[in-house]
Symmetry: C2
Subunit: 209 residues, 2 copies
């Protein structure tokens, strides 16, 4: 595609094309859509992105996105604080909450170990989990990371880190097909996989046999 006849328009298209899964033609369509919309609407669009980055806060306990110091889940007296479900990001919290099958709290890593994308253990909220476990307030850790190589690697890293403690570490049941993303799984399967969680040791043995 040739370069566009306007520099500001070109810049907007290039920025939109950086979004995940958006190619240049779709970015062009989005930029035209924003250009045809009212000036105030385009301004609130741009400001929403800038403000999100400046004003967002994270829950002190679980690391989830939150408006307050504690998120609504960690702040709820109805939730079982000693059961901690480790997830990649807020999308997985939403997915598990939608099943209605889980009454514990979460620990949001903010990503998974991925050498391909240059994300190591130190880029993630893992040390916070170790501190939480060492303080003795946790009775069970449920690993609910994606069933991909990166997810398995992160599972194993966390399992090794927590090995000194005696609390059970479980994973959600492998009812989810390998390679699938957690957020696209149907609610029944995901809900059942929370109930049928299995000791992490079992999954390692099965793989080695």
């Amino acid at each position: 595609m040739n370069s566009l006849p306007s520099r500001v328009f070109e810049t907007a298209v290039n920025e939109l094309a950086k979004l995940p899964g958006i190619g240049r033609k779709t970015a062009l369509r989005m930029a035209l859509h924003l250009l045809k919309s009212r000036k105030e609407d385009a301004e609130s669009f741009g400001m929403a992105i800038i403000r999100m980055h400046n004003e967002i806060r994270y829950c002190r306990e679980c690391g989830n996105i939150s408006d307050n110091e504690l998120c609504s889940i960690c702040g709820s007296p109805k939730r079982e604080k000693s059961i901690v479900c480790v997830v990649e990001d807020i999308r997985d919290v939403i997915a598990i909450e939608n099943t209605g099958q889980y009454n514990g709290v979460y620990h949001v890593l903010g990503g998974i170990i991925s050498p391909m994308e240059g994300i190591g253990p130190n880029d993630l909220n893992i040390s916070g989990l170790v501190v939480k476990v060492e303080s003795g307030s946790v009775a069970e850790i449920i690993l609910a990371l994606p069933t991909t190589i990166e997810g398995d690697t992160t599972n194993f890293y966390i399992y090794k880190k927590l090995h000194a403690s005696t609390i059970p570490v479980t994973t959600i049941a492998r009812g989810i097909s390998v390679g699938d993303e957690l957020e696209h799984t149907d609610e029944v399967t995901l809900g059942r996989s929370i109930i049928n969680r299995t000791p992490y040791e079992n999954t390692i043995l099965k793989k080695n046999q």
Copy 2:
């Protein structure tokens, strides 16, 4: 999907979900992507959209997006100014330019007549075209609007408006299948349809027979 645990995050997701073809799950993924990226990157993203709306300019002659008073096509001495190709928006200019088959200039309407979306003839740059034709500087009008009901309606409206003048009004050949968008057509078909343009009267007769 439940509401999100942060107001600024929720706002950003809602704004992204307003983009054409973007659902709430994709918007959530985009917002997380922007949140994980560096603060400066998110800021240039937001500012690019706001600046585009504030600083964009349109070519005095054809109505296309432009950095200067005249766009690069209208300002080029190599282009045949008396042949005017009427298109919906800049995406169609890019598509026709990519064929390398056209040496005239364009007239960008900025949309097509669509009662469904509340777009009438007065919302489009049609009067500018009539003025241009009445000034006697145009030798031929090529209608290159989408082959949809809205495109046909707009073609007919423009044809009626220009009926008083004696200049030929042609449409690009219907090699493009009816219902397809101009920008997704392959370059050979689109190029041929510019060369094999037919008098607009012929297309009306064919339809009524």
